[in-house]
């Protein structure tokens, strides 16, 4: 399991648009970098990020090797009522990690 940091505002009012910030531990090996032996290190990157709130996709992104190691991503979503935020990172070599966070509104 890769380490993940998810930053969500502490207090959210109904109807508010909030910013969510995420970091995930991943080398994002570009597939263009020569290793110590001079051969190119095979590509191993995250390809896709999906954020769902309950069953609705609120944000998604496709990454190329030009995304920095330990990818940072920030996006916003409008919160009408409480629900479950599901974040999923998918990548090369079968990488697939899902994190969920409960969102409550004041």
């Amino acid at each position: 399991m890769a380490r993940v940091l998810i930053n969500i505002p502490r207090e959210i009012r109904a109807g508010e648009t909030i910013a969510i910030r995420t970091l995930i531990q991943h080398a994002m090996e570009s597939g263009y970098r020569p290793g110590a032996d001079g051969n190119v290190v095979p590509r191993d990157i995250l390809r896709r990020f999906t954020a769902r709130f309950d069953d609705e996709v609120v944000f998604a992104a496709e990454f190329s090797p030009a995304i920095a190691a330990n990818p940072f991503l920030s996006f916003t979503m409008n919160v009408v009522a409480g629900g479950t935020l599901t974040l999923r990172w998918e990548g090369d070599n079968g990488f697939d990690q899902t994190e969920t966070r409960r969102i409550t509104v004041a």
């Binding site: 380490r3 940091l5 930053n7 910030r21 970091l23 531990q25 190691a69 330990n70 940072f72």
Partner: protein, 249 residues
């Protein structure tokens, strides 16, 4: 006479300049990465360290927390007082060395190698507890030999380029080398996330980088020479605020 004057000029201590963290010389954007925990990739290692802190390990099934309790209180300011004297080995040790020793001697767990993810993570987590604390080396006379050895190593020319640490970081600090400002070399934020490394690394990794940079043979990880240089550098940085886990370009 002229020669004496020159000597005096060369040997002006760094303290003559205002102490300046490498943070100050970074681009605004890189500073922002460090300032905000939500954007600082080093916090991924801190999170790992926090998990390790309370995970039982080794034959005795003890965690760091079993003895030390909450790191927020027990480890506050600790990293600002290393290197410190280690009674068991009768030698100075750095924070990572102390953590590794605790791991094997007290917990009876497999050793954490230098620069291993686990040791970096624990060092970053313990180091974070001193963020903002002023560096204050222990007033322990047994550390004096290491500090003077460190001072000598810092001033000694080495490598095929025949350069000493002091020639860059004292004599030319603040001037530019290619696209970078030469920093005063204060170890305020280790272990830190270096953009070049795309990961977290220790002061010893940084010192090795400097040594290969001047085409010198680096000491092995954990070598007493590195502890001595760290003891000297921490003494030189006395009073500066800890930044662990810092970000550097």
């Amino acid at each position: 006479m002229k020669r004496l004057a020159l000597l005096a000029l060369c040997c002006l201590p760094a303290a003559a300049q205002e102490l300046r963290s490498g943070f100050e010389d970074m681009a605004r954007e890189t500073q922002a990465l460090q300032r905000e925990d939500a954007t600082n990739p080093a916090m991924l290692w801190v999170q790992e360290g926090e998990a390790l802190w309370s995970s039982p390990a080794g034959a005795n099934a003890q965690s760091c927390a079993s003895c030390h309790g909450a790191a927020e209180t027990s480890m506050r300011g600790v990293a600002a007082r290393y290197p410190a004297w280690d009674e068991a080995s009768a030698a100075p040790t750095d924070l990572a060395g102390r953590i590794a020793q605790c791991r094997t001697e007290r917990q009876g767990a497999p050793p954490l190698e230098r620069e291993s993810p686990g040791l970096l993570a624990l060092s970053a987590y313990v180091g974070l507890q001193s963020r903002g604390v002023a560096i204050s080396p222990p007033a322990d006379p047994r550390l004096a030999p290491a500090m003077s050895q460190g001072a000598a190593l810092y001033a000694e020319r080495r490598g095929q380029l025949d350069l000493s640490c002091a020639q860059c970081h004292d004599d030319n600090a603040g001037r530019r080398l290619a696209g970078s400002t030469i920093p005063q070399a204060h170890p305020t934020g280790y272990p830190l996330y270096r953009l070049e490394w795309q990961g977290l690394g220790s002061l010893q990794r940084r010192l090795r980088g400097c040594m290969t940079g001047v085409r010198a043979e680096p000491f092995r990880y954990g070598a007493p020479e590195y502890i001595a240089i760290e003891a000297f550098l921490m003494g030189r940085a006395t009073g500066m605020a800890m930044e662990t886990p810092a970000v550097r370009p």
